[in-house]
Symmetry: C2
Subunit: 459 residues, 2 copies
């Protein structure tokens, strides 16, 4: 088995050069082989180095490194919001083995091909330190592989069987599965959902054991059996850019986009707010002068707005406060889904964030075989630092104007990722809506799709 | 003020004739003027008559009756599933008066136009008897008018004010409202949401007081200030049909479409299931032989499917069971949103349906001024009996093929509504996908849109 795995810890390095950054100064450490790999490949790794205060922003060490299987090209910038880069990433080949228990022998006979192979890309945008993002980058792929291996029999069947490695109880079982519309891709979606949950629990345990804190968003793309799965928990984003089209492949999960779910939870469990917050949303925080007046508000069951007479309890700090980039959950967190944050509490209180935070991703599926892929079709995955400054359409225009003219350049996808980040640094105001500049960490994957459809098959 | 209001109680009548039904034999009763109307208009009404067992299916009395303000054309068929038709409908002019309290005098001076005028159409598909549907048809418009009148000041302002009939507390208030993106249409959405809730509570009280039971779905369309609002709670549907396009204006709310919300509630409050049901979804109900096997399942947090080892508790009856038209909530109800059902319990148990049922509608907004309306553009609203047999596209084809050739017929919209119902009765197999026949009550509104944009304004 030829397996390649590549994981980066993105480092602070030298100052941002243009157009090409220097090689970073990173301290190599012994490579810890991810459990994900069972093949014989070894691969150099890097780890975090102390901050260099004079360097801001800073690029990652592995700019444009071509992966062994030519799967995707990443570019990362560290805005040094914290001592270590809170953006982390991982990508690699996903080798799914058959189950190894004795009961599976029958299935092995039925299914002579031993492996499913796919590809995996992931971006993690940490907060409260890089610990959760590093743990996620180290382990989420293992969780996913484990989840997929547990259902490998279902993945290679034409239709997911009602029973796994078992006997048929009811002759109509295939018909029941058919009527429910359960397809192989639903098993992969389920595996991604379970993997995120498993990884979240692991991060909770590890951080507690090591006395560390923090959380991270997670955006994962998996290509498997001719389909691309994009699982998102947080405010990173993936888009598909084709010659004439741009299509979002993920939705952002923030206190604003998940307002109703969050308010609903506070409605069901008011004790979660410990009498310190109001569940209701108002256009601004209310003051004493608002008492007795009728003001705009909305509650968990409302999409529209209405008016209510202000009572004293409405003057409390709102559960969700602020607009857009400033919106915060319990005055603390800008995202509503992600991994970690098990210990996170509102400052100077015992109010926990976790019950409102979900680790469950939303998964979208793209059928690569249906796309009639062209040479320049790519997926762009990036953390929020990019999307704060560039719209989907602006990114698509950069992709569509750059790639066709650079077909001969073997590093063009790396160059494109670099160009996307470059355009957020105020170097080229024509690219951003109002010449905006990003001061956030930014990570970008550019994934050429042309050969993913054929490549992702059993072998 | 010239106000027209029209409400029907759809009756069993004679056998289905073709192409034109006979006048029904209904017992006229004294007209009870809806509280909604404050003008001087009076209007004949009809009420339910005893069932005629030989007549099945039966048409309603008021086929194709042209409304005074030419607003919409309805056609109804009674399949006689119950003694009285469980489909009910209402439509009329919506006259929103200024508030009448003394505090509003200042606003009256600022807003010299005393009324907002709109139109209202509503379909209610009852279950467990017609009582809830009749109550809803009698009162939902009053609830809505009351809600809109309470915020009339906000409706006529360019931007909803932070405070209603009050003083400005913070000079930046308009900016806060602007940043939240709160528009006049959000107030109408909020009013519709509140009206559904108010009507639901009223139905609960009325049914309890009169010892009656039952519930109903509710689909409401309101045209106001150049916009069309469609509020839906249940499995009725509204679509927009234009010359080259068909667009759904509502989503159905059934145990299947709301699975995750319903499972989530059972996860939070397991006592709601009283140990009689399992929250988990399986492709079929599990049997003793499934014990110990790994079977397909999904829980509240999952969009995809996974496998679990079957335990004894998984053999209980599922919270949501069956597929498509057969899907039932707690083995009892085919819809997950609607009005009424406050007393509904699972047969022979004390398990209530109401906590799982929502009365909140989903509201979609159509900007009529942006549509470039053509002579033949219509909204088709219908109860599920129609959509069980005809797809959106099939309905659109019937509309698009019928209307252009019948421009001179003053009754063409009535004729179209009649034709749509006719096509569900197995008379013309080419119209339905597989010559399917509906045995359900069916109600259809065909609403010509051409003049709604101009008509809906203050006067």
């Amino acid at each position: 088995m030829s397996a390649g795995w590549f994981r980066r810890r993105f480092l602070p390095g030298g100052p941002l050069p243009a157009p090409r950054p220097p090689r970073p100064r990173a301290s190599p450490v012994p490579y810890r082989r991810p459990r994900f790999l069972r093949g014989s490949v070894s691969c150099p790794g890097t780890t975090d180095t102390p901050r260099r205060p004079e360097a801001r922003p800073v690029r990652c060490p592995a700019r444009g490194r071509e992966l062994p299987w030519n799967a995707g090209y990443a570019e990362i910038i560290n805005a040094e919001k914290s001592e270590f880069n809170e953006d982390q990433a991982a990508c690699g080949k996903l080798c799914i083995r058959r189950c190894e228990t004795e009961e599976d022998q029958e299935w092995v006979t039925l299914c002579p091909e031993e492996f499913l192979t796919g590809h995996y890309w992931a971006l993690f945008d940490g907060h409260g330190g890089p610990a959760a993002a590093i743990l996620a980058a180290n382990t989420l792929h293992s969780c996913l592989r484990r989840q997929l291996e547990a259902i490998a029999e279902g993945l290679v069947a034409t239709q997911p069987p009602m029973h796994l490695s078992g006997h048929c109880v009811c002759p109509s079982d295939p018909q029941f599965v058919e009527e429910k519309g359960i397809r192989t891709e639903d098993l992969v979606i389920g595996a991604l959902e379970s993997a995120f949950q498993e990884c979240d629990e692991m991060i909770g345990r590890e951080l507690e054991a090591s006395g560390q804190v923090g959380g991270c968003t997670a955006l994962v793309a998996v290509s498997l059996q001719g389909k691309l799965y994009v699982a998102n928990a947080g405010d990173s984003r993936a888009i598909l850019v084709q010659r004439d089209e741009v299509r979002p492949l993920s939705s952002e999960f923030t206190p604003e986009t998940e307002r109703q779910r969050i308010q609903q939870l506070a409605f069901v469990y008011p004790e979660l707010l410990a009498g310190e917050f109001t569940r209701l949303e108002f256009p601004r925080r209310l003051k004493g002068d608002d008492l007795g007046q009728k003001v705009l508000f909305r509650d968990h069951h409302m999409s529209g707005w209405s008016y209510k007479c202000v009572e004293k309890s409405d003057l409390k700090y709102p559960l969700i406060h602020g607009q857009g980039r400033q919106a915060r959950l319990l005055g603390t967190l800008a995202v509503s889904r992600g991994l970690g944050d098990h210990q996170l509490r509102v400052l100077d209180t015992n109010i926990q964030l976790k019950p409102f935070l979900l680790s469950v991703p939303q998964v979208t599926v793209l059928d690569l075989d249906q796309l009639e892929l062209q040479e320049e079709d790519v997926i762009v995955m990036a953390t929020d630092g990019l999307w704060d400054v560039l719209s989907n359409e602006q990114v698509a225009r950069i992709v569509q104007s750059f790639l066709p003219g650079n077909r001969e350049d073997p590093h063009r996808f790396s160059e494109l990722a670099r160009m996307l980040i470059h355009s957020t640094q105020g170097k080229d105001n024509s690219l951003t809506a109002e010449g905006q500049v990003s001061y956030d960490d930014i990570s970008v994957f550019v994934i050429p799709l042309n050969s993913q459809g054929q490549r992702n098959s059993r072998h």
